[in-house]
Every structure is written in C-alpha cells, then in structure tokens.
C-alpha cells in the first residue's frame, strides 16, 4: 500500500493543488493576534523571542557560511593549527546567558499576570468528556453540553464522500456555543470526567489541561465582540480531533437576553 501511495500521492497532490488549491488557500504563517490583553502580550513575547532567534541565527549562520565558502581546500585553504581560545570561549558562554536573562524577565512578568485569577466577574465550570464539552455557569444555574456540529460530524466519517470545504466551519462548529459578555473577566474551572483533555482558545491565549478529579483555573477578558474557535489540545482518544470549542463574545445586553432564554429552557425542563 505504501508503495502505491508514494507513487500516487504526488500526482494527486498536484491535481488537488491545481483544482481546489485556491479555494483552500490560507497560508497563515504566524500566530494570530488575539482579543485579550494576555493574548497580545503573549504574541509580543512570541515575536520578541522569534526576532532574537532570527538575529542570533543570522550571526551564527553567517559565520558558518563564511567558513564553508572561504576555507575550502579547493580554494587552496591550508588548515590552521589552533585548538582553543579561552577568551573567546568565555565570551560566547556569557553572551547567550545574558540574552536569556533578558528574555526571562518579560516572560516571567506575563506569566505572573496569566496566573492571577482574582476578581473575576463570571465563573464557568468546563468539563471535558469523550468527546464533548460541558459548560456550567455555576452562579447562574445554567449548563449545557457542547458537541461537534451535525454537518461536520457527518462529513468527517471515513469515506463519507462529503467535501469538507462545503461544510460551514468544518470541524470548528458546535451545537451550543459558550456565550460570554464582552469586557468581563471570566474565570474558568477546568476539569474532566474520564480522560485528560485540554481547553484551548487561541484568540484568548488560554490552554488548560482538563484532569479528572482535579480542578484547574484559567481566565480571560475578551475586549472584542465576535465568535472565536478552538479545539481540544490533549489527545483524548478516538475522537480527539472532533471536539471543538466555540466562544461567542457578545454585548452585556445580548448576554442577559441569552441567559434568560437559557434559564427559561432549564425551568421548562425541570417542571
């Protein structure tokens, strides 16, 4: 099978790229900037480290390339005899150490802020199950399961024959969105009912493992109204790839209205 694969795949690939390529084109290269203060700080930190690596890399690679170009035997280069140089060895040990300290300080500052879950205005308990999420607005008396959207679920079956590009937000859409008010510090209590899961929302820079029997804390404060999508980030079995997370950030009025319909639904069920 693998041999046939190896022959067929490149051909298929070229066909696919030429036919359907443009429809799928995204070529996203970098980490997107999120909609919370934390996610912007994380993005800045990511860019800082990336640029430091680029600069060190450029210098190191320049030295390597110079050596490779300049000291070729075919150019008549004759090998020198030196074997060490204490001064330069001390310098190139000290410089990386100094750069690391410079990077560690802002990283630690951001980390300390990320861990501060005090003064939250809304608490949602998030429970991971194989393979859906349950959300419990513990002070509001509202709770619901959130499962992969039906259309995606049909398309993702092996050999379904349904073209994923025709499905709205394929694999990133759920039946019940999490709804939160904008500009509100939301605390998450993350746990799991069976195996490990991880609740990841890239736009908020929140990723927290859901561990059965333990409760982890995380928080976010989204400042832009919109719909944000993420996925389970810890291997949790067969359908790990099929338990997305969708958070809808809405105005306070819309949130109140949503909460009322949810409450009405709950009381209708309990009567």
């Amino acid at each position: 099978m693998t041999i046939r694969t190896r022959v067929l795949a490149p051909v298929l690939a070229l066909l696919a790229l030429s036919i359907a390529g443009p429809a799928w084109s995204d070529f996203e290269l970098n980490m997107p900037v999120g909609v919370t203060e934390t996610s912007r700080e994380v993005h800045d930190l990511h860019m800082l480290v990336l640029w430091i690596c680029v600069v060190i890399g450029a210098a190191t690679y320049a030295a390597m390339i110079t050596a490779i170009v300049k000291f070729r035997k075919s150019n008549g280069a004759v090998a020198a005899k030196f074997t060490h140089n204490a001064a330069i060895e001390v310098v190139w040990t000290a410089i990386p150490a100094a750069i690391l300290v410079a990077m560690a300080v802002p990283a630690a500052e951001t980390l300390i802020r990320m861990e501060d879950t005090r003064d939250s205005e809304l608490t949602i308990k998030v429970t991971g199950y194989q393979w859906r999420w349950h959300y419990d607005y513990i002070d509001e008396g509202v709770g619901f399961y959130s499962t992969l959207d039906r259309e995606s679920n049909a398309a993702r079956r092996t050999g379904s024959g349904i073209d994923p590009t025709t499905v709205d937000n394929y694999l990133l859409k759920v039946d019940n969105d999490v709804v939160v008010p904008v500009d509100t510090k939301v605390r998450l209590l993350v746990t799991a009912g069976d195996v490990l899961h991880a609740w990841w929302m890239p736009a908020f820079a929140v990723k927290k493992d859901a561990i059965p029997g333990f409760i982890n804390e995380a928080w976010f404060n989204a400042d832009t109204v919109g719909t944000y999508r993420g996925q389970c980030a810890e291997l949790c079995g067969m359908d790990h790839g099929f338990m997305p997370i969708v958070v809808r950030v809405v105005s306070q009025e819309d949130y109140d209205a949503w909460l009322n319909t949810q409450r009405a639904r709950v009381s209708a069920l309990t009567q």
Binding site: S25, D26, N85, T158, S160, G237
Partner: protein, 531 residues
Amino acid sequence: MSSTAIDTTHGAHGEHHHGGFVAWCLRWITTTNHKDIGTLYLLWSLLMLFVGGGMAMIIRLELFQPGMQFVRPEFFNSMTTVHALVMVFAMIMPAFAGFANWMIPLMIGAPDMALPRLNNWSFWLLPFAVGLLLLTFFMPGGAPAGGWTLYPPLVLQTGDAFPFAVFAVHLLGVSSILAAINIIVTIMNLRAPGMSLLKMPMFVWTWLITAYLLVVAMPVLAGAVTMLLTDRYFGTSFFSAAGGGDPVLFQHIFWFFGHPEVYIIILPAFGIVSEIIPTFSRKPLFGYAAMVYATASIAFLSMVVWAHHMFTVGMPLAGQLFFMLSTMIIAVPTAVKIFNWTATLWKGSLTFETPMLYALAFLFLFTLGGFSGLMLAMVPADIQYHDTYFVVAHFHYVLVPGALFGAFGGAYYWLPKWTGHMYDEKLGKLHFWLTAIFTNVTFFPQHFLGLAGMPRRIPDYAPQFTDFNMISSLGAFGLGLSQLLFVYIIIKCVRGGPKATAEVWDNPSGLEWTVPSPAPHHTFDEPPVVK
C-alpha cells in the same frame, strides 16, 4: 592462542558457508563479537527506519487533505503512537548502540566490549520486544493509541494489547540498560595504555555520558509503566483520583525519563559530528575540554527540566518559573557546542564528502531546532505552542536533522572501515541532497501550521490548514522514497567498490584508522600504546 578457541565457536568473516544456512544463522544468533553485534544493531535499525517510516507515510497520507479518506481515527492514533515508539526505541537508539559497538572498542584500542555475552543478549532482546509491540496491531482493541507518552487515564483504555505493550517497553528498557552498562564498563576498564579520559575521542565521551543517562532514566520508565500495569490489573490507584492518586504524577515520572531520553538520542549524534567535522576540516576539534564539559552539563541539566513538557497541567507559579529558567539555561552549553563546531570549521581546509555534508546540515538544522526549543521554553508563549504542530516541527527538527543526520553521517564516515570499500560518492551526495531538501519541505511548514492553531495528534483538520499539510505530506513521501537510495548505496558498498585504505580519509585522527579496512574480525589483541 586463546583466539583460536573463540574462532572455532564463532567463525570469522568468510568462514560462515561451511555449515550451511543453520550454521550461518547460529553464528549471528550466538555471536559475541562487537563488530558482528554492531552490524546487527545497524541493520536492525535500518529495517526499523522503514517500519516506522511506513507508519509516517500513512499518517501523512491521511493528513494530505481535510476529511477522513483512508483510515479510521483510532487506527490513526495507533499510527502516531507506534511510529514514535518504533522510531525512538527500535530505530534511533539501536542505531547509536550499533555505532557504539562497532566503534568504541576500535577507538579506545580494546579487543572487544567488556561483557560480550551480555552484549549478545542486549541485541537479541530487541527483535522480541519490537515483535511483541508490533503484534499488538492484531489484538482485540488494536495497538496502543494513547500517544507514545502513554498518559493515563487514556492509555488504560487500550484493549488486550495493553499488557503486551507494557512488557515490550520493559524488554526495550532492559536491552538499553544492559547495553549502557556494557559501554560504561568497557570505557572505564578497557582503554589502551596512555588513553586518559581527556584523551578519549568525543564520540566515546558522548556515549559514556549517554550510557550514564540511560542507567538513570530507563528504570524510571520501567517503574512508570509498571505502575500503569498495577493500576489496571491489581487494584492500585497511583494515577486515579478516585482512589487518591493523580494522573499528573505519571507525567512527572514519565518526563523524568523522557527528557534525559531526548539527550540520550542526541548526544551520540553530537559525538559523531565531533568526529566528522575535524576530519574534513583537517583541523583538530576546537575547545575539546569545553565540549566535554558542555556535554556533561547538558546531561546534568536534562534531569532537572522535565516539567517543561507540562506547562499546561496547572503547576504552581514557582514550579513553572523554575522549569522555564532551567530549560533556558540548557541553551548555554548547547550554544557553546554549536560555536565550537563552527570554530573548528574556521580556518580549516574543508572538503565536502557525504559525511561532511550530513554534519554541516546537522549544524544548520539542529541549530534551527534549538531556536524553536528556546521559544517553547518561554512559558506564556508555550501556552500557545503546546500540543500544536509547532511542537511536532520542533522535535522533528532535532530528531531528524539532529539525530538521524548524525547517524547517516556516521554511516558514510565509517562504512569504508566496515566494508573495506568506498561507497559511491555521487550517489551518497544525491542521497544527502534529497534527504536534506525533503526534510525541510516536510517539517518546516509544520511550524506555520502550529502557529496558525493546528493541534497535534489529530487525524483530520479544518480546511484552512490544507496547503501546508499538502506540502508537508509531499515532502514526507519524497523523504521516505529517498531512503531506498540509502539502502541501495549500502548494498552496493558491501558488494564492492574502490578498495578503502586503512586511513580512508585524509589523515583522520583516531585509533580506528590504524587498523586495516575492512577491520579484521579481531583487532587490538595487543593493546596499542597512546602517547
């Protein structure tokens, strides 16, 4: 002469046709010769490269485009799990054990490994362990699918394969520990007169340190999987909160093994590159003593950084800060090594035979993997990178252009010593360029996928990730195919080719170049004297 007795039981090269096929098999099964066992290890790891690589091809085939076209999600998870286990335990570790067996006695002027029968056993445990692991594909419930990290509670959901997989890990661990003990005893006791520790070749040094890491780390893994076994079958609750345990405890134990394991895989490659670069620069290794100290520091630090694999589990702030800083410190000795290799090139007289090409690619691309490692060390950024394709890109950059290129370079470097023939240089270079280009085509786009938000270990993805997945899959197919060329080059070199001299290369340093090519079955019966 005592060697006569050895020869009648084990036979020498060229004598193995006397007794027919059974005798030929018995010779390889019962051999205690370090060169035979080295050859067995190397051929075994080559075979496993294709077994693990075949699984990678299935993974990349399914990920070629969105939607599930070829396999079911559970089988996909088995593929990622067993691909990793095979590549780590059955391919790359045995490859370096093969280099150790062949080269350490030749490099230190010893007649053989110190414990030859143990040596035979540590190799022959391998096929049984791996056979057991691969048999799990045919058991009810399928092969393990919880990831090579074996995290509970998920791994406890494995079907009938579970105890077999645990036993396979035990056997692999025993095999590695025995090999490590043998290497330590050999290096400590069988060095030729005059070869003090600080005169040993770098490859011997890196393996000595690796062997100590193995002895520290492998029993910890054995303990962790045994606890899984008792949790499932004997009513313990080490990792179950319902019984007072903690699933995260497993992760701490696993990574206490797992992080030294990373360096167990890379340090021998450091050693090989430290042999190749001076030879083809015609200049001694720059800062030999600093290289030894840097290797030892890396090994020590590797034991205090394990929780950087676990920044999202909910550790206390102080713990996260400690593991961030300790991880960043590793960058210092690693940078020292990179600078020392570059300084070895500096003002040398460079030629670019295949081993040198692999060593240079190692230098460039391992550095790149080091940079992404530095990015991953920054906890707030790691929260975004963790469990995405960015991590997959990072560790494949250190394992493929790092460890595997080290092994390829070493194979080309010593192949003439092993076979007595020069390999086909043109084909070797072709193999290098194909491998180097396809490696980058495969793994570089995975950085972008991870940053854009694609989680790892998923069999299907949202359509916005399609383009880079396609490129990555095409690279992977090319990379897989190119390795057939490697097999052809080896076969060609074994069967014939220009006769290799004892020195093989242009005035290389090391005792292995003082014995004829191919190295006779028995070498250094009389220890050489090192000045």
